[in-house]
Subunit: 199 residues, 4 copies
DNA sequence: TATGAATGAGGTTTCATTCAT
DNA sequence: GATGAATGAAACCTCATTCAT
């Protein structure tokens, strides 16, 4: 019934959008192909015309979001006209915008994508590893030029990533500010001064 | 393995311990009742003599760990002989010890326990909510007595919790220090001074 | 491939030819309508403009080949100018030619056509039954005129048919001769003298 | 319901027996796991306690029968007290007995086992190849010692195998004799003298 | 208490066939 | 005629849970 003949691309996008909703609501494991098909208003078989299997639509969502997410991060160029802190602030701003725009995807990426699958874990693990290494090197560089305080860089990176992940995951939720600007300001203050008052 | 008559409590504990291993290795979804029974060296049916269902053993693990975890956190008493920062430091120390002692449980709690089940999510959500509220109030109190810098407390709490969760999750992993002391030192520095050098 | 407007008959023949290839390569069960359409270079729907269903194209192939096969067999006329053995030899020759020309069809007929379908089995069974009866009568006639040795005719027919089927199925394969003449010579020798040396 | 608790081996044997019936009646492709389970009087899931999948029970049947079949064939020892022809006759006798005892298995092996699966085809192909090579060598040896007439051995082997297969497949069917002795006699006559009268 | 055979609901996936364009 | 998107029946297989022994 529902069907109403769509172009291939339209239908694919429609299924992806519905899958995003369903995964967001139920998580990967609880979301069945049936749920996705029903939400889309197509028959079960139709799903398989567009995606090889359940895992693959999840992967498609993640991969796409991942790409958009990483595209928001620009390497900080110490020689640029913009001061490094401004560059950092802009990176954070873009990430917060994304988190506010697509909370469902952010939740899927940050909460569901872990522990699904050996292949997936490898992929995610590789990303975090690469990110960590990159950030550690950045911190070390920052320490050298006096921008970053001294300390155990791997641990500092983990702390920073953890703090950021929590914000990205909960952006727009609960009592957190709804504006990217506000989020960025507070994150920057956290990075600049921690939580405690100057003693 | 099996055999060796056990008291009910011993047997239950034995199954719990094996389940912890299995959940830690495969995650909740991939871990079957069979895996747990086999690891314990008992028959499938025996499992059900000790636990109502698969969910309930997971819940038992989480609940128990949860209790132990929260028991490590002592409310900070401003009037105590110990300075508040020392009290905070001791809290962190106990948490890091726990994370280093039981990485599997920490992983299960922090990674797998989310999105399993409406009931579970509610329970976890309530905990985080309560924790957040408590921490927010603590921060506000801290701000009042000049111990905590000014700022959006919900956001500050989220940043702090995120940073801490990341450490607890990865404690003893990768390039992070293996000692609770080292972890605590760096976390405290992070809370005290952020990441950046004093400008 | 596709395009090039064809007359109905041409298109039908084209699909049949491709189906033959596909069935030959994958067998009836593994060959999907999609495989056939793709090989032909037409859309799936087009297939159904020419054939009622998947079974029917298989049946069309078999029926057609069957007709060609049986048309190669001429009843042996004892009164003809040609000696009966020559007539037999010519029958065999035509069959071997067919097998060498169309190994795929022969494989399909001899290997795949069995056990597909009650209807099909009935049809094939009827053919074999009729063939057997006919051959039994021929053998009996041959026995009467002293051309065929004494023996249990149904069994002798089965032995002969089996031997022949194996050759027709494997003609041009493995280490068997590639020429119809060679095949016929050896088959005739087998019929005339068995395998063993005159004791 | 049905279940009635069996020992593992009993139940396995029971399922195998029912599967044999079902495969014999419907062929591999048409036979569903449900058919087999229903025939056995157990639930679908029970089937999977005993066999990994549908293919594997088929393979188990074939492998077992295959082993029994090949165990009936004894290499012909020219130096033995028994004359070679007697040894051949005894081989044939054992095969015919098997075919009369287990017509369903014979049908499955000879008709269904072909074209199921790449792996299966390989296995069967290897068997036939080995058998052919062995028989060709035997024939050549026979030719050397004057027991077998001259001729193209691969072709002679194919003819002989084909004739035998047809008998084994149809033993006890139609108008063929029901006794192994009668079958063997006629097969031997065929091998010794072909079908035609001495000209 | 312990066992492990049995169950069957629930999910996945394939593909012959239909039908709107 | 031709297309290919859509359908849904039909099989497969897994595993949490029950229950007879």
């Amino acid at each position: 019934m529902a069907g109403t003949r769509k172009s291939r691309e339209e239908r694919r996008a429609q299924i992806l959008a519905c899958a995003l909703e369903v995964f967001g609501e139920k998580g990967f494991h609880a979301a069945t192909v049936d749920d996705i098909a029903a939400r889309t208003g197509v028959a079960r078989g139709t799903f398989y015309l567009y995606f090889k299997d359940r895992r693959s639509i999840f992967e498609a969502l993640i991969d796409d979001f991942f790409a958009r997410l990483t595209s928001q991060i620009r390497s900080i160029d110490v020689e640029s006209a913009e001061p490094p802190l401004t560059q950092l602030r802009m990176n954070l701003h873009r990430l917060c915008r994304l988190a506010l725009d697509e909370p469902a995807m952010m939740k899927i990426l940050l909460q569901d994508a872990s522990g699904l699958d050996a292949a997936f874990d490898t992929k995610l693990g590789a990303f975090y590893k690469a990110l960590s290494v990159f950030l550690e090197e950045s911190l070390e560089e920052g320490q050298r030029i006096g921008l970053v305080r001294a300390g155990d860089t791997p641990l500092m990176v983990a702390l920073g990533i953890g703090a950021l992940k929590e914000i990205l995951l909960n952006a727009g939720t609960g009592t957190l500010p709804r504006s990217a600007d506000a989020l960025v300001e507070e994150i920057m203050r956290f990075f600049e001064a921690g939580l405690l008052a100057r003693s």
